[in-house]
């Protein structure tokens, strides 16, 4: 188990380095940050001086090595756009994104799994058919459209919920949270639904098809023959056996939710990392982009690791393999 985790950590370093290299290769195409940094009247000399100071004239490999060297020491430099330390910019935005992603993921799981179970158990019931139809909408409508529609209905027409922003937040140490104020919670509702809807339909459809499959297997029939209650069969035997793929997908999707919160954050002016990234792209703010990409890569790696560990908890066969010293994979 320990060896497994260590191996995974080594792999993750390789992944991070690769992401760094790819990112730096891409930055050559985002344009000249100097123009975004200075006013139109700034002289050629000042521009050239700034470019030189920032090391933008150095060859890309050298810039990359310098960046990795600093990043390893936790130094990400100053943002070209706001001249604030990149590390702090990101840390400040992290709570907004993580809270939103968490709410979206919980929304997707809490609503998606029961919907999937229900429509898996009673595939011909009219409620299942309605859920199927609704989930099609979730899969096919683009996120920004769902967001704008929700704003239009709940903020502009019904005036029930705020149209944008985080509402009121409470600072707990360095962490700002939405969970402690009514306005903060209100502000979470629309973006969480927007961000979670796609995952919800995905999870629902996955659970449904897994359930349909499991319900046809022999051991369910035997369980029925033994006279077990429906509840014990459905949840104790059937649902538990559908969970491995569901956990995989849900875990990977959590990474996706964080990474792709960009669209939702832009639509709702949600002050998270995604919005920070978009602003940075527009300004060719290389230090912020680089740090953000590394962080996202790190999150994906970490989530995958957690997912792998969860398999151990859910699937007893993996545990016995480790016990026999064969390794997990």
């Amino acid at each position: 188990m320990l060896a497994f985790i260590l191996r995974r950590l080594l792999q993750s370093i390789a992944v991070l380095l690769t992401v760094g290299i790819v990112a730096f290769f891409l930055f050559r195409y985002v344009g000249d940050p100097i123009n975004a940094m200075v006013g139109q009247d700034t002289s050629m000399e000042e521009r050239a001086e700034l470019r030189e100071k920032l090391g933008l004239n150095d060859p890309a490999p050298l810039q990359f090595v310098r960046f990795i060297g600093n990043a390893a020491q936790g130094k990400f430099g100053l943002s070209y756009r706001t001249s604030e330390p990149v590390g702090r910019l990101i840390v400040e935005r992290l709570p907004a994104t993580l809270e939103l992603a968490l709410c979206a993921a919980i929304f997707a799981m809490v609503v998606g799994v029961p919907m999937g179970v229900y429509s898996g158990l009673y595939p011909r019931h009219w409620i299942s058919r309605v859920m199927q139809a609704v989930s099609l909408i979730g899969v096919s409508l683009p996120t920004f459209l769902i967001g704008i529609l929700l704003i239009l209905v709940f903020a502009v027409m019904l005036r029930l919920l705020p149209s944008f922003g985080r509402g009121d937040t409470v600072a707990l140490g360095g962490w700002t949270t939405n969970f402690l104020t009514v306005k903060g919670l209100q502000a979470l509702i629309l973006p969480s639904i927007t961000l979670g809807l796609f995952q919800l339909t995905l999870i629902m459809r996955l659970v449904r098809s897994e359930m349909l499959e499991v319900m046809r297997t022999d051991y369910i029939k035997f369980a029925r023959a033994r006279g077990l209650s429906d509840r014990a069969i459905n949840f104790g035997h059937a649902l538990k056996n559908t969970l491995v793929p569901v956990i995989t997908i849900a875990g990977l999707q959590l990474g996706a939710i964080i990474a792709f919160a960009i669209v939702t954050e832009t639509v709702f002016a949600w002050p998270g990392m995604g919005q920070l990234f978009i602003q940075s792209v527009q300004f060719a703010d290389i230090p912020v982009m680089a740090a953000y990409l590394l962080l996202i890569a790190f999150l994906f790696v970490a989530i995958n690791l957690v997912v792998d560990l969860l398999y151990f908890a859910v699937d007893p066969r993996l545990r016995s393999n480790v016990g026999a010293g064969k390794g997990a994979h």
């Binding site: 009247d41 521009r47 100053l78 070209y80 604030e84 702090r88 609503v111 705020p162 002050p271 602003q279």
Partner: protein
């Protein structure tokens, strides 16, 4: 499940809506939004309209601009010249910074030094300044290298900081991008202005409260100002329709009509001082992107005239800009010193045959092919304007290959390099506003004078346009202190470049803002938004 959830959401929302929107009688909170955030609270960190206008609510210059962009006394009460190269400024007494410290000549001398050194982006404003001197606590003098009639105009952009505060907080120079540490002034302020910074969360929200000890009598009646950046235009529109914000800019052109129909929202439009124009490479002997080899068609005035008189700016206004543009034939806008209404006459449009004849006379009977560069995220509808130009020129047999791209790539491609070598473009779009001085000389110097690495003139003369008479005139204008004589020379320069068809001015784009009906505000032609004029009814 869904029904239950909705019911819960609605109940929670109703409950808190009661708490949130219960109006208190006296509190006049003003919420507003813009597409981007203020990049820094440091007034010298970037020479950019939005940063300067936002920070002008907190910091003040010696001389500020009024509703019509005219100069008026702020921290200086009187100013003028002692001799042609020495200016004096008498400072207002009894002014206090937000931290309670008294304002004096030391702060002015310090601020000008800070703005002209280190990581400051405002150095260009001090090109003519030789020395800033404290004469007494309430008077400073500035020596200039040559007579500079525009010094007061330039200093209107330089906001005054507190010397003691800056020294205490180790921020005597503006942020240095090469250091890995933050500058205190990036997030903290201490000005003399009508508003004080209460909360700064970059990218999230910035809260201002009125300065109770402000020296001037406030026009505004606000008790709190909350600014939030909202990048997505559709969300900004929704937010103002929902009443979550009181004011926002800029309004996306496609939503202007929609907002005008809303009974609770007023749309405020006016021409912006920036001129959007097209330019051609007149420098190279052979164009970079053309099928004509061995010569440069744009060196021939007839070709430039044919282009100029084939582009229908009124059609662009009607179709692309949906009425939100103000066509012009000059390179400066009304409101800028040197704009001359009598000279703002666009030559009539040519019929395609007449234009083709001009091209044929110049030696291009079959037209030619040329590449065009255009930004797609810099000016209002920039790419669409270029597309319209492409189709208008197609009618006279010129095939234009349009390359529209994001501004960071665009400017890097077309602008002059640091050694003054020309950028890589043959035909391009740019916008220019003499924001530093509100005077036409800035335009002549930056866009018309022959590019020269020694004199630093013509830095943004991407075209490489060169006219010896205009060069000489612009140099004279720079140090001419006699207003009437100077205005005469500005008019002469205007006639020179319009006769040359040096550029194709298109229009001033409209500044479009939206505010709730219960808000009174003042829209300035340079797209700046001073909070000191805002009233909530």
């Amino acid at each position: 499940m869904i029904v239950q959830f909705r019911r819960f959401a609605a109940a929670a929302a109703l409950l808190s809506a009661g708490l949130a929107f219960a109006p208190t009688v006296d509190a006049k909170t003003f919420r507003w939004a813009n597409a981007g955030d203020v990049s820094s609270m440091d007034p010298y960190s970037r020479n950019e309209t939005f940063l300067l206008t936002f920070n002008s609510n907190i910091y003040e210059p010696l001389i500020r601009r009024d509703k019509d962009l005219k100069l008026e006394a702020a921290l200086a009460t009187k100013w003028g010249t002692v001799n042609p190269t020495t200016w004096f400024f008498d400072l207002r007494t009894g002014v206090k910074f937000h931290d309670g410290a008294a304002f004096s000549a030391d702060d002015v001398v310090f601020s000008y030094k800070r703005a002209d050194s280190g990581g400051s982006n405002m150095k260009a404003y001090f090109a003519s300044v030789k020395e800033v001197r404290k004469v007494s606590d309430s008077r400073i003098e500035i020596d200039t290298k040559y007579p500079d009639p525009l010094l007061a105009d330039k200093l209107a952009a330089i906001l005054i900081m507190s010397k003691a505060w800056a020294e205490k907080n180790n921020t005597v120079t503006a942020a240095d991008m090469t250091k890995n540490e933050e500058n205190f002034a990036t997030r903290n302020t201490n000005g003399t202005g009508p508003f004080m910074l209460k909360e700064r969360r970059a990218g999230e929200r910035t809260v201002l409260v009125p300065n109770p000890a402000w020296w001037d009598k406030p026009v505004h009646n606000l008790t709190e100002v909350i600014f939030t950046p909202v990048a997505n235009p559709a969300t900004r529109v929704a937010a103002i329709k929902a009443g979550d914000i009181h004011m926002m800019y800029e309004v996306p052109p496609a939503d202007t009509d929609n907002l005008k129909r809303d009974a609770n929202v007023a749309v405020i439009e006016g021409p912006e001082t920036r001129i959007v124009y097209l330019g051609f490479d007149q420098e190279r002997d052979e164009l970079l992107e053309s099928n004509i080899k061995g010569k440069n068609p744009f060196k021939d005035k007839r070709v430039r005239e044919a282009f100029h008189r084939s582009i229908d700016v009124d059609a662009i206004k009607r179709t692309v800009m949906r009425g939100q543009s103000f066509p012009t034939n000059l390179m400066v806008a009304p409101g800028i010193n040197g704009y001359n209404k009598a000279l703002d006459n666009r030559p009539s449009l040519l019929a395609p045959d007449a234009a083709k004849k001009l091209l044929a006379d110049a030696g291009y009977p079959n037209g030619f092919e040329v590449g065009m560069d255009c930004p797609n995220d810099r000016y209002v509808n920039d790419e669409k304007i270029c597309q319209a130009v492409v189709s208008m020129l197609a009618r006279i047999g010129v095939k234009v290959n349009l390359r529209a791209q994001t501004r960071n790539l665009y400017f890097a491609k077309i602008l002059r390099k640091s050694d003054f070598k020309p950028g890589e473009t043959s035909f391009y779009m740019l916008g220019w506003s003499p924001a530093a001085t509100y005077d036409k000389h800035n335009v002549l110097e930056a866009l018309f004078q022959t590019p020269n690495a020694q004199s630093k003139k013509g830095q943004f003369n991407v075209s490489g346009y060169s006219n010896a008479k205009l060069d000489e005139l612009a140099n004279k204008i720079e140090s001419e202190t006699d207003r009437a004589k100077r205005d005469g020379m500005l008019a002469e320069a205007t006639k020179l470049y319009t006769a040359d068809f040096a550029y194709i001015p298109l229009h001033q784009q409209a500044v479009v803002w939206a505010a709730r009906k219960d808000i009174e505000l003042v829209q300035l032609a340079d797209n700046s938004f001073p909070l000191r004029f805002v009233r909530v009814k």
